[in-house]
């Protein structure tokens, strides 16, 4: 129902090469979001991806 502003979403890998999370700008602050379904920011990212309003870039 509510929407936070998320931009510049990009997966990041850890040093083992595993996809570890999403780096994103949330309400103007760069943050690291874990791939934890219970994390509300991750849930919101998935919701915005499903809605077609956000794309997550692949890891560098």
């Amino acid at each position: 129902m509510y929407s936070i502003t998320i931009t510049n979403a990009q997966y990041y890998n850890d040093l083992d090469g595993n996809q570890a999370g999403i780096k994103a700008t949330i309400n103007s602050t760069e943050m690291f979001v874990p791939l934890d379904p219970a994390n509300s920011d991750y849930a919101e990212i998935l919701r915005q991806v499903d809605a077609g309003t956000l794309t997550i870039q692949d890891a560098d």
Partner: protein, 342 residues
């Protein structure tokens, strides 16, 4: 109150499966404000008092200051309240506009309510409130797991005067009304300041299936944000049973620890340093004061370098950076902020 009444209330609470007066709301006395004590943000989020979020939706004129205030009801033992001050009014409330104050509660903390069974427990919400605008305000109970709502109201009778309000709702016996037994948000309690016509309609005042267009607010409630004014609230308590019992004042430390399950920060510069853990990498760990609700979102500022989080969880955060023993740079944090709010 007589001893007989005390024992009767205790027996009733015992029947309800909980200790008398246990508060399902965290930080109901508005004492903890880790993020800050004042904000002018008009986007959905947590800004001042912990565990409560301020949520304007689609407003385009509104300007506010929301803050942890020391204005409190006299003689009730509170030191703080949450204050909303409208500094620029939303003069024309569009259909999609909404403005609320709310808290969500984890499902695993609600199992004793037995929702979804014939034994579903009643709940009583009590709070102290003061507003510059008299009239009817909506108060929404929202079962987020079952998408069911129960809309209630309270009335401000006298402007700029503290008033004590209680609202009792029946337990929801609908077979689909059970709360998930997990760490997700299951029950939301919200106070409604204004609601456009998309959010009002023909509400039901008992439990029923939620539709945005008829459940969120009463159409005849006040529009608090249509003019400048102030609204205060404190002493919020949600308890099992049909009787409001006195607010249980916790120590600040107990309250803070409960809040830190959802949000924690340390803004002390250089509180944490990186160490060399293999020849080519440095790691910087931060252990949380209490286990967090879930693996939190990390907002960490470093003195230098670009760190990458590594296998963090609800107990700790750590990040690494490529760096050798001969690297003479000192790596430390400028601040750390971790968010596992609902």
């Amino acid at each position: 109150m007589s001893r007989a009444r005390d024992f009767a209330d205790l027996a009733g609470a015992a029947d309800a499966g909980t200790v008398a007066g246990t508060n399902l709301i965290i930080n109901g006395d508005m004492a903890v404000a880790q993020r800050g004590t004042s904000s002018t943000s008009v986007t959905d989020g947590y800004y001042t008092v912990d565990r409560f979020s301020f949520t304007p939706v689609a407003t385009d004129e509104l300007a506010v200051t929301h803050s942890q205030s020391t204005t409190v009801p006299s003689g009730q033992g509170f030191a703080n309240s949450w204050k909303l001050e409208v500094t620029t009014a939303e003069t024309a409330l569009a259909a999609d506009e909404l403005c609320i104050f709310r808290q969500q509660i984890e499902g695993q903390n609600l199992q004793h309510l037995a929702y979804g069974t014939s034994s579903a427990k009643s709940l009583t919400l009590s709070f102290w409130v003061r507003s510059s605008l008299i009239g009817k305000y909506s108060c929404l109970f929202y079962n987020l797991d079952a998408t069911r709502t129960n809309l209630q109201s309270f009335t401000i009778n006298t402007a700029d005067t503290w008033e004590y309000k209680t609202i009792t709702i029946d337990g929801d016996t609908d077979s689909g009304a059970g709360f998930d037994n997990d760490n997700g948000g299951s029950l939301q309690v919200a106070w409604i300041f204004a609601a456009g016509t998309d959010w009002t309609g023909t509400p039901h005042t008992g439990w029923g299936a939620h539709t945005q267009t008829d459940d969120y607010a009463f159409s005849d409630q006040v529009n608090f944000i249509a003019q400048t004014g102030t609204f205060y609230i404190t002493g919020v308590k949600l308890e099992v049973g049909s009787t409001a019992t006195p607010f249980l004042h916790e120590s600040y430390g107990e309250n803070l620890a409960k809040c830190q399950r959802y949000y924690w920060q340390n803004t002390t510069n250089a509180a944490y340093y990186a160490y060399q853990y293999v020849s080519t990498y440095k790691a910087l760990p931060v252990f949380f004061p209490v286990p967090m609700r879930a693996t939190p979102t990390a907002d960490v500022s470093y003195s230098s370098g670009s760190f990458t989080p590594y296998q963090d969880d609800e107990y700790h955060f750590k990040a690494y950076i490529a760096s050798s023993y001969t690297d003479t740079t000192g790596y430390n944090t400028s601040y750390v902020k971790f968010n596992a709010e609902l």
